[in-house]
């Protein structure tokens, strides 16, 4: 706050620098959006505005199928990751030795996608082989194909990818929660689940919801792990990237990239606007309460 008053121009300059940096980081995406509305594609001299490329994306059954798979994957992964993150965060708060938990849950952040993907790929392949061997020894085919590359293995890979983010977000919101409230609820006779659902959850709801939106966006965007671990289906990004790698950028792939970007911007934008409105209304409420009652 100090330099805001000491030197307003320097303060504005710093803001400008920060916004400029965000725009620079976004510039490739913004440029792709700009190209995606051009009827003549990339590098053309003339610029004719069109929605044609988007229409092509939505009439492509391959892409629509991929979109459906991606959404299913995102929903399933989110439904597992977020409860896991909440459980882990609750355990973390009470645990004596926090280091192993932090290590296990945050280490996937530091493992590059290709390394994690290939390690899991080989792990699943050998698990599959040993399960089939086990089934042969026991004379049953019950174990066959448990860990064959499929939707299931992609889900596991993506849970490991998303869990650190969800864990951090939930942990940050849980930092504001005072555990005495749970103790009070338990003393009043509520069981653990009641105490969580009625007392704690309403207070960490914002964190849980943002963890959910993070998971959806991350799964939607993920390419490397999904492409290594998926079975015989395609997601939106794997279709997009394989098209780009094989045939280069087509106007349609610009449209697809922009769509992914628009989705992410819409979600983050609505979170920012939602929190703005919420803090605004909360502060109005607080002001109303603080205002002295006039007797006239």
């Amino acid at each position: 706050m100090t330099d805001e008053y000491a030197n307003p121009w320097l303060y504005r300059l710093k803001w400008l620098y920060m916004l400029l940096l965000v725009v620079t980081l976004m510039s490739p995406v913004l440029y792709v959006m700009y190209i995606s509305f051009n009827a003549n594609g990339f590098g053309a001299r003339a610029y004719d505005f069109t929605f044609e490329w988007y229409r092509l994306v939505f009439s492509d059954t391959l892409l629509l199928n991929a979109l459906r798979w991606t959404l299913t994957l995102a929903v399933v992964v989110t439904c597992i990751t977020v409860p896991f993150a909440v459980l882990a965060a609750k355990y973390y708060k009470t645990a004596q030795n926090k280091l192993p938990i932090v290590f296990l849950l945050l280490a996937p952040l530091f493992v590059p996608p290709d390394i994690l993907g290939s390690a899991l790929l080989v792990y699943f392949k050998s698990l599959n082989a040993s399960f089939i061997w086990l089934g042969d020894q026991l004379g049953t085919s019950m174990f066959d194909g448990w860990f064959r590359l499929s939707f299931f293995t992609a889900v596991i890979g993506l849970i490991i990818y998303t869990i650190p983010y969800a864990f951090i977000v939930v942990l940050i919101t849980m930092g504001r929660y005072r555990t005495e409230q749970t103790e009070a609820a338990r003393a009043c006779g509520a069981d653990g689940w009641r105490a969580f659902w009625d007392i704690e959850f309403p207070q960490i709801r914002a964190g849980v919801f943002s963890a959910c939106s993070f998971c959806v966006i991350l799964v939607f965007n993920e390419y490397t792990r999904t492409s290594l671990l998926k079975g015989g289906f395609d997601t939106f990004t794997t279709v997009l990237i394989s098209q780009m790698l094989n045939t280069g950028m087509s106007p349609q792939s610009y449209a697809m990239s922009s769509m992914v970007a628009f989705t992410a911007i819409a979600i983050i934008g609505s979170i920012i606007i939602f929190t703005l409105i919420r803090t605004e209304s909360l502060s109005r409420l607080a002001r109303a309460k603080a205002e002295p009652v006039m007797s006239s």
Binding site: T2, K14, V22, P112, D114, A261
Partner: protein, 305 residues
């Protein structure tokens, strides 16, 4: 113990209810271990097994148990090692650039922006990170190309006469890609790290008449070191491990560990891929261990406790 005392007076129905409650409590306690068990089975074990698999012998389509150093030999005594070391150099360069551009922002947010608005400003930096990294990297191609955004703009302004061709399909391209992909992380890590630097420290420094440079090197840097280190390791390791960066933006010679591993998988040389993974994990663990000994990395999470 509890069940003993509550069991005696009630009827059969009540004791059944009690046992189910006790049973539920017990399950409730175990369920907290579920995420950890999941992470052990599907993360820690596969990562540890990469070391075991890397000693296996390669067969036509798969591998068989053995103890051979062939894969390591294959890595260390070929162009792969050279590529790996070169990518380390450029990755370190990307870390330095990210730090120079990104860390002042973390300081600025912590110092000059009101507490309630800080998280919202951080969300601004989450925005580029939320658009798929791959798409952003791909989108860099039309920006950096011969007739791309940067070159046409510079030529329109009359700053250059000929397009700069060294921006893409070179090491420069890879470094640009790394900086643009990973810069938000140094902002996040720096933001967390600056939690260790209370606001009054700036006032104390002003009162004592400490210059900007000394304030930065003697006060802010040591206090924020754990977070900065974590961010730097993240960027460094990802610069080494994200295969698509050199694949899309790099030219000849731009090969990093991730690309070596994925190429080995495509060539069905699984032991080599596992050896590369093991080397990467060793690098990562070594860096984290050094960092932990130097700065105690658990400090980063203290604001959360």
């Amino acid at each position: 113990m509890a069940s003993l005392t509550t069991n005696s007076p009630g009827g059969a129905a009540r004791s059944a209810g009690e046992t189910s409650a006790v049973w539920r409590e017990r399950v409730g306690r175990w369920i907290f271990y579920l995420p950890l068990a999941f992470m052990v089975v599907f993360f820690a074990v596969p990562m540890a097994l990469t070391v075991v698999f890397s000693f296996f012998e390669r067969t036509m389509f798969w591998m068989e148990p053995a103890f051979t150093l062939f894969s390591y030999n294959n890595f260390f005594f070929s162009a792969r090692l050279e590529n790996f070391l070169t990518s380390m150099k450029y990755s370190a360069l990307a870390v330095v650039i990210c730090f120079i551009f990104g860390f002042p922002i973390a300081v600025f947010i912590r110092r000059s922006i009101p507490q309630v608005a800080q998280h919202r400003v951080i969300l601004l930096f989450i925005l580029p990170f939320m658009v798929s990294e791959i798409i952003r990297v791909f989108a860099l191609r039309p920006v950096l190309q011969r007739n791309g955004l940067v070159n046409t703009t510079l030529m329109d302004w009359g700053l250059i006469d000929e397009p700069i061709t060294s921006l893409l399909y070179t090491h420069t391209g890879v470094v640009i890609g790394e900086v643009l992909s990973f810069l938000p992380f140094i902002v996040f890590a720096g933001f967390l790290a600056m939690e260790a630097v209370p606001k009054f420290i700036f006032e104390v420094c002003d009162d004592l008449g400490v210059g900007h440079r000394r304030r930065f090197t003697d006060v802010i840097l040591p206090l924020a070191a754990p977070g900065i280190f974590a961010g730097a390791v993240f960027i460094f390791v990802n610069g080494l491990g994200v295969a698509l960066l050199p694949n899309i933006l790099g030219g000849p010679g731009a090969v990093n560990a991730g690309l070596i591993a994925t190429q080995a998988i495509t060539a069905l040389d699984f032991p080599l891929a596992m050896a590369v993974s093991a080397i990467m994990m060793a690098t990562l663990m070594g860096l984290l261990y050094i960092g932990h000994r130097l700065f105690d990395l658990t400090k980063i999470l203290t604001p959360l406790n």
